[in-house]
């Protein structure tokens, strides 16, 4: 495994640049955030969506039961596929070709984009329909297609169709791309196509049905993404709620599938498991309305693609292979990490300035580029709260990978600026020497008092309180401004002033311990009393460190999934017990037999 995690990249090895079309908007992160947060509707819509999705997602997961067991299985499937990626891609491409399709491999976005645009010209396609696909956005396909004379491109997912009408506005969410648009904006955009109705979403959606139905029927090519590619069948699995992908694939005689190379599963069974995990995590339902497994049409079938092309895209994904960032390739693009992220909630999708926003974008975007040029700010757009890691259905340790990016930037790439480097050095010295640390604790109150402020006087209670700091010392003072990097905190919330040395926790603790020792009749007697209390506490061994199952205890690259023995079977409650059960294949066969026709 490489020790400098971002050194061994596609660019270094082959000279080919990757991830060149990911970035959009103002290149300055702070400017982007200001622009994004200025959109009050979008800000409110994201908050509402996060709250609503929380309820739906957690309900759907609870209904399934034993969610942690499902996460273990999904993590294992995805890790296994990444581990044997070349073998599965080889098997998949062989099977697509057996079905009459064609498979092409692209190491870069430019290579994939140019191949598809050349194919469009060669096939003389004029009317292209596209269901929503992140990877086609990643390779900048829409803009390239629009440059071809006589080619009309229609995004058929309702949200993407809305963005297309708004001069190809960028998506702000992986699953709900037009989250930042309100019904009035949609009404105005649809008016461009002759819509004269009101702003009722039902009426607007019905109008889009009529317009898009015509586009489906006249299409000569569909360009789709791929949720999962099924290696042993050579089939492509696509899930939608609107049915736009199915109509696109059924009607257009040529289909081009663009897939990120890691989106592979061994068989239809694993595709089924992953679909269940994806849909519950993405939209909080058991399954989407349409879940399809497609390949080139057979000679005696009427519709479906006669010409079927699959373009398998690396575009910097391989930069993660063999490094501590490899778990990011487990991602199934459910966007549940966005839906729990407090930073995404505040800065919105456009604040990230990447096709991939949110925690997944903060990890993936620099990796796809293979450097920190455009996205060096994104790993800092994170509070390390770990909500993303906790919700991820395939157990990607997202916050740890974000932290890893910071580590690489600081330790390997030396990307810190003079001020932050100096501050960190001072903090490192202060916290690295006990005498300095104690001195800091002694004088923090005195030092901070100079810039501390009294709060606003509450007319009802007569007390002075700041806007946000609640745990104030009795003097009621707080910090509203601090210098250097510390000001990042006080820009968004007040900080209570540290208490005077004589009133801080350590002073209180020492005094209390002394009085307890005196009460117990000496130090030895006090230790015995404490040991007796611990002995009676059944949780004490866990609490005191012999077993730590917390997320933070998991270290990237150290956790291995070890398959259970054939004789191991989960109980209905999900606990693992040894049982005399036959091997997995026999059990699977038994279940398959249960589904036979009567």
């Amino acid at each position: 495994m490489s020790t400098t995690q971002m050194d061994d990249t596609m660019f270094r090895r082959t000279g080919q640049k990757t991830g060149t079309m990911l970035q959009y908007g103002d290149p300055n992160f702070v400017n982007r955030v200001h622009q994004s947060t200025a959109d009050k509707f979008a800000h409110g819509a994201i908050s509402s969506a996060q709250d609503a999705q929380w309820v739906k997602r957690e309900t759907a997961r609870a209904e399934l039961g034993n969610w942690e067991g499902w996460r273990d299985l999904s993590e294992q499937i995805r890790q296994h596929c990444v581990r044997y990626l070349p073998d599965y891609l080889e098997e998949f491409s062989d099977n697509v070709e057996k079905r009459g399709g064609h498979v092409f491999f692209a190491q870069t976005d430019v290579e994939a984009r140019d191949f598809i645009t050349d194919l469009v010209k060669k096939k003389q396609a004029h009317k292209i329909v596209k269901p929503k696909s992140m990877v086609t956005s990643e390779i900048g396909l829409d803009k390239a297609l629009l440059k071809i004379d006589g080619v009309k491109v229609t995004e058929t997912d309702l949200a993407e169709f809305i963005l297309e009408l708004d001069d190809w506005d960028e998506p702000s969410h992986l699953v709900f791309p037009a989250l930042h648009k309100n019904r009035d904006q949609v009404q105005k955009l649809f008016a461009k196509l002759g819509y004269t109705g009101d702003n009722d979403p039902q009426h607007e959606a019905r109008f889009s049905r009529k317009v898009l139905r015509e586009r489906f029927l006249e299409a000569d090519m569909s360009i789709t993404g791929c949720n999962f590619a099924v290696a042993d069948q050579g089939m492509v699995n696509i899930v939608t709620n609107e049915g736009n992908a199915d109509l696109s694939m059924a009607i257009a005689p040529t289909q081009v599938v663009v897939m990120g190379m890691e989106r592979i599963v061994p068989t239809l069974r694993e595709a089924e498991t992953m679909d269940n995990m994806l849909v519950r995590s993405a939209v909080g339902t058991k399954l989407t309305s349409y879940c399809s497994f497609v390949s080139p049409k057979l000679p005696d079938e009427a519709d479906g693609p006669e010409d079927f092309y699959v373009v398998i895209v690396d575009n910097g994904r391989s930069n993660a292979l063999g490094t501590e960032f490899e778990p990011i390739l487990q991602c199934i693009r459910c966007a549940s990490c966005l839906n729990v992220c407090p930073i995404y909630r505040n800065i919105g999708g456009k604040g990230y300035g990447s096709v991939y926003p949110g925690p997944i974008g903060a990890v993936l975007s620099p990796l796809l580029q293979g450097d920190y040029g455009d996205f060096h700010d994104l790993p800092y757009a994170c509070s390390l709260c770990s909500a993303c890691t906790a919700t991820c259905p395939v157990k990607i340790p997202l916050h740890e990978l974000i932290l890893k990016h910071r580590e690489v930037m600081m330790n390997d790439k030396h990307m810190g600026d003079l001020i932050s480097d100096t501050v960190m050095k001072v903090v490192g010295m202060g916290t690295g020497h006990s005498s300095l640390f104690r001195t800091a604790l002694t004088f923090d109150h005195v030092a901070m008092n100079a810039i501390a402020k009294k709060g606003v006087k509450d007319p009802e209670t007569g007390t002075r309180v700041p806007d946000t700091a609640k745990n104030l010392d009795e003097n009621g003072k707080h910090e509203e401004w601090m210098p250097f990097v510390f000001g990042g905190w006080t820009k968004v919330r007040d900080l209570p002033e540290p208490p005077a040395h004589s009133k801080n926790f350590r002073t209180w603790f020492n005094k209390r311990k002394k009085s307890q020792i005196a009460e117990a009749g000496g130090e030895d007697a006090f230790r015995k009393t404490q040991a007796d209390i611990l002995a009676k506490n059944p949780n004490a061994p866990k609490a005191f460190g012999t077993y730590d199952n917390s997320v933070s205890a998991r270290k990237v690259g150290r956790e291995q999934t070890t398959p259970l023995s054939d004789a191991t079977v989960p109980t209905a409650l999900g606990s693992i017990e040894e049982a005399g059960v036959g091997d997995y294949a026999d059990r699977a066969k038994g279940n398959a037999d249960n589904g036979k026709k009567d």
């Binding site: 069974r269 005696d300 009427a302």
Partner: protein, 233 residues
């Protein structure tokens, strides 16, 4: 484009793992939750689970016996078809459900998805149909999902272009979850016993929440969906 061997060798070199190791390291699942979840239900129980789950996916869930099937279908046609009904070409299923005579006696005459009629003709017929009645292989109770592989007589667009849709399903073909459906299809597609290019799992109507997260039922596919489970088959 990059040559396949170059592409795959690069991945192997970058990951530090040699190619062609999979045959010695097949996937051995850490648990069998897909097989055991919701296992052990009788067909009666599965029917009730599916019925209970139907409203969440906007499905009008109906049951009938074989004798009552033609009347139930006639009622759907009268309410939805407006003289433009689309049916599959599938003699085996009509015969199994006892519907051959019913089909032949329909007035006005329905349209059919016709094997050999070609892409344009079949799509055009489906697009002008108000209602379709299709046959499903299975019904997955947990998610209220019907499964339908594409056949020459029941194509892909058959399920998506008509405005209203009814699916006829045999009670004995209700399974617990999509896993059991996949356990059925996986070996049969692989062996060639089922010849299809496309497998559709359909769960209720098409829907969207793309405008202000407001749920709109019926977007590109059918505006409504009826499942008709035939009980005494």
């Amino acid at each position: 484009m990059t040559d396949r061997e170059t592409f795959l060798n690069y991945l192997a070199e970058k990951s530090g793992r040699p190619r062609h190791q999979l045959k010695d390291h097949p996937l051995k699942p850490v648990n069998d939750l897909p097989e055991t979840t919701m296992s052990g239900h009788s067909q009666d129980e599965l029917l009730e689970i599916a019925r209970k789950n139907a409203p969440a996916v906007h499905v009008d869930f109906q049951t009938t016996d074989k004798a009552g099937l033609p009347a139930a279908l006639d009622k759907f046609i009268a309410a939805k078809a407006d003289g433009k009904l689309l049916l599959p070409t599938d003699d085996e299923s009509y015969s199994a459900f006892g519907l051959t005579g019913w089909r032949d006696g329909l007035d006005p005459k329905p349209s059919f998805w016709v094997p050999g009629a070609g892409r344009k003709a079949n799509i055009d017929t489906a697009n002008h149909s108000e209602a379709a009645i299709g046959f499903a292989d299975m019904l997955c109770a947990e998610s209220c999902t019907i499964t339908a592989p594409t056949t020459p007589g029941q194509g892909r667009a058959f399920h998506f272009l008509p405005v209203h849709y009814l699916s006829v399903i045999c009670k004995s073909r209700i399974v617990a979850r999509t896993r059991q459906a996949m356990d059925y299809y996986e070996p049969r597609i692989k062996s060639g016993e089922i010849k299809t290019s496309n497998l559709n799992f359909i769960t209720g109507t098409s829907s969207t929440g793309d405008i202000e997260m407001v749920l709109v039922v019926g977007v590109h596919g059918p505006l409504d969906m009826t499942y008709l489970v035939v009980e005494d088959m």
